[in-house]
Symmetry: C2
Subunit: 287 residues, 2 copies
């Protein structure tokens, strides 16, 4: 029955699921969006035949948090399986942690002043068909990066903002707090949230309770259009293990744990199960 949902209905279902726990107030922002965000974003990914840039990595105490890279890696593997050329774009220390296992492009750290020129050159070189940001710190009105606690972390961050704003192709950005790239689309609605909003906009902004989860929502659409259960092979706990071995910390607890924004990996896994059911790939009994 679920498989007979229209694309539009599937998108609305996914959008609602993505913000249902609402730990950081994303339901409030979702109410300001035009529905269909996940569908429109997934179409851009689907139509990208060649290179897809996936920017990720949020600096925490000289290392990186688990939220962002888990979804980025899940999406990378799916896009690769579909014959596209994904590239993870990130700065150190995450870049060094990933570069042996994935096609990566390095962002220089702490160079906001040169970032626009650098990004334009990189885009000319990489020629992406789609650029996606998942849980990247975004420039605020002070042209700085603040974390969710309001601390200026600019000197530890690379700048991916201009990869989004200067891209000659569709752009997607995923966030769960308000200070991530793409939140410029809704910056004026953040008075109620205790955050200095990012003002960098994007073509399609995807909201989620945990940014990693938005990647699963996009993959649900790719599964549908390829008639293939692409979510079946994704094991968030395995990816968390991989990242933890390389020094990741949870963005909320700041501990090296197998969690995302303070939530056990089980939550992401459950969401994947529900997305597969929604897509008609499994029944409740099979799981």
């Amino acid at each position: 029955m679920s498989a007979s949902l229209s694309d539009d209905s599937l998108s609305t279902h996914i959008e609602t699921m993505m913000v249902e726990q609402n730990p950081r107030g994303m339901q409030h922002l979702y109410a300001k969006q035009e529905t269909g965000t996940y569908l429109r974003a997934a179409k851009s990914l689907h139509h990208a035949q060649g290179t897809v840039l996936i920017g990720t990595g949020f600096a925490v105490n000289n290392t990186f948090e688990t939220d962002g890279p888990v979804g980025a890696i899940a999406l990378y593997k799916v896009l690769e399986k579909l014959g596209k050329q994904p590239i993870l774009v990130t700065g150190n220390p995450l870049y060094s942690a990933l570069k042996n296992d994935f096609n990566c492009f390095e962002l220089p750290i702490n160079s906001i002043e040169n970032a626009r020129t650098f990004s334009i050159k990189a885009l000319e070189q990489l020629k992406p068909d789609c650029v996606l940001s998942i849980e990247r710190p975004g420039l605020n009105k002070h042209q700085r990066y603040y974390n969710m606690r309001g601390i200026d972390i600019s000197e530890h961050c690379g700048c991916f903002d201009f990869f989004i704003t200067e891209a000659p192709c569709p752009t997607i950005a995923i966030g769960d707090g308000g200070n991530e790239i793409g939140m410029g689309n809704l910056a004026q609605h953040m008075q109620a949230l205790n955050i200095t909003p990012c003002i960098t906009p994007c073509d399609e902004l995807l909201l989620a309770d945990v940014s990693n989860w938005a990647a699963y929502g996009l993959i649900a659409f790719l599964s549908r259009w390829h008639h293939t259960d692409l979510l079946a092979d994704i094991e968030p706990l395995n990816i968390l293990n991989y990242l933890s071995e390389r020094g990741s910390v949870d963005g909320v607890t700041h501990k090296n744990e197998l969690t995302e924004d303070g939530l056990h990996a089980m939550h992401g896994q459950q969401l994947i199960t529900r997305l597969r059911q929604l897509g008609g790939f499994t029944t409740e009994n099979e799981v």
Copy 2:
């Protein structure tokens, strides 16, 4: 009768008057604002005891347009009369045109990269109690300045954006098209307008059909609170004459004419008359 209007009602009257001709779609944006914009902005000016920075000047073909400086000069004169210390902040050629007659602060041209640091230092030096921008080009998502025709005019512009975003005091910004400083507050609502929006926000954004006119709306409140007809001495045609002698052009026609955005000075003068009537300073017969 009009004088018995509450401050809130006066503000709503003024806000509606300011966008009633709607040549560039500001009614559409006004519908997205919380009412009371002119009242809240006027209070910030009223409470500023010392220095008030007034940024103005929009580059057109190596000179400057009439919209912006007329209102800036009108406001400057009123603030001076009220014992405050206004300073006009602008780049060349407007800076050189005004510096002999007004207290001015010069913005360097074409230096976006250094603008944030420059602005923070300038704010420390000038210690403003309020910062106001009237028809200043605002940075868009490409970190560039575009005019209303979509042409990149960055190399001819100084950067006032960070005077607004880094100010340690209330900030006000006035615009009439979407590409001016402050429009970041409404950037997400500009899809319907044929403009690349400015993403720089401000505390209080004032919309007007012609930016100069917003200054008269603010002065109407100062008149009320000082029980003084401060609009009586303002002659837009005289200020236009003064600017025209110094090389100004109309921002729409690009000709050195005594007009603002293609509109005869009479329109601004009529608005002043109506604001004085609304404030109870004149009756219809007196004018």
